[in-house]
Symmetry: C2
Subunit: 247 residues, 2 copies
């Protein structure tokens, strides 16, 4: 099975959670919109996927979209729910798959809040048009929400009855890849804040370090397939938002 991923070609964004799973799972996949337009890639290919012409009435709302044979699957966490068993990145038991998905949805909530730190008023406006509001939201985020989310994942690893170094079951899962991505993104976007917070979440930091050493992940991160962080994506470094307030 050759998977086709449709996502914005110049940012990590939400698509990165899918890319990491495909890479660690050793999947055969095309990152379609990153191909040249003359090879039926680029943003036009993404737009066509969103139009759902091949989707038999299952039109996606937004990218990322995964094409698997005749199926078109959207919503980041839903794509990982679909891919997890196929790439052996989730335990077999149904109850564990639901638990992994529950954690992924909590990561999605965190990612949404990270986005809204630099876009508290609306996605249709530039950051510069909502800079003052962003500063206020960043203070709330770094003081309350971010510590709450990170402590939660620290607890999840600590309370995992099957392992003391991953979130779900006894082996690496797509949730762990997403935790890695979140820590990487937060370090880029909020370096001062993270420096303070990381002292309280040693298990999360160790998980990040473990993922980065996986051979396939290390190869991916060193390759041109990994798009750099930038102020176009979800995790953005604006020094004025890295408020480093802690309780």
């Amino acid at each position: 099975m050759r998977y086709e991923l449709y996502y914005w070609p110049t940012i990590q964004g939400r698509g990165e959670f899918i890319r990491l799973a495909l890479e660690e799972g050793g999947a055969d996949y095309l990152d379609v919109a990153r191909l040249p337009e003359r090879e039926r890639g680029g943003v036009p290919a993404l737009m066509q996927a969103l139009e759902g012409r091949r989707a038999r009435g299952q039109r996606p709302f937004a990218p990322p979209v995964l094409k698997a044979g005749t199926r078109l699957v959207a919503q980041t966490a839903n794509i990982l729910l679909f891919l997890g068993p196929r790439l052996r990145l989730v335990p077999k038991a149904d109850s564990m798959r639901l638990w992994a998905h529950q954690l992924q949805l909590t990561i999605a909530d965190l990612v949404g809040e990270v986005h809204d730190v630099h876009h508290p008023i609306g996605s249709s406006l530039y950051y510069e048009q909502q800079k003052r509001e962003a500063k206020r939201r960043a203070e709330d985020f770094t003081a309350h929400r971010l510590p709450k989310f990170l402590s939660y994942f620290e607890q999840v690893i600590n309370e995992n009855p099957r392992s003391d170094h991953v979130t779900v079951g006894s082996a690496l899962s797509y949730v762990d890849l997403s935790v890695f991505q979140v820590v990487s993104g937060l370090r880029y976007a909020f370096p001062r804040t993270m420096k303070r917070l990381e002292r309280r979440i040693p298990r999360v930091v160790r998980l990040h370090d473990r993922v980065i050493q996986r051979p396939r992940i290390a190869a991916y991160l060193a390759s041109p397939r990994r798009i750099p962080f930038s102020t176009e994506g979800i995790f953005r470094y604006y020094p004025e938002l890295d408020t480093a307030v802690t309780r």
Copy 2:
């Protein structure tokens, strides 16, 4: 199986999507935090569920939480993914269940944005502390995001190959109950805006009207189990945010 729902006892909130599914599915359930504390209910019971003492390392991040036997399931869309087949509120085919879940996650995105209209800066602050920002966000929401979401669900019903009056497959699903709840909430929170927008989404409006006539839903809505909308929940009526801007 007697299900136990743990959610804030005085608001509809995200818990309402679960309550509607339990009611339409004819489930035997307890809305635990709505019971008196002397019957082991109230907010203390909710707090205990969040502590995950019975969860074998599967601690929830936030309510709603559903207890089903020894299992504890959290995240609204994840609970519906779990309950859908058990309450016969989703088609049997795996591909259709994933599609229903994908739509539910898109509804979750919309619900998150509705919340952020009145709390653009942060949940730890009162509405009055972010009123000016809320007004700006409401303008963006009612002009761009809300029409986009509603048109999307109109298209989904229109393109459903199995039915012209529900979102998924040929029969009512939990997604349709959620669409009903969203329309009800939006009518409460943004009456002027919705009056304008509803002309463009006849199928969504008809679906709402169809759900409200289901015998179990009608009985539920007329019962004291249905908590009224208020300015404590996700859908809040603040006239100054009902900007009725349309493209």
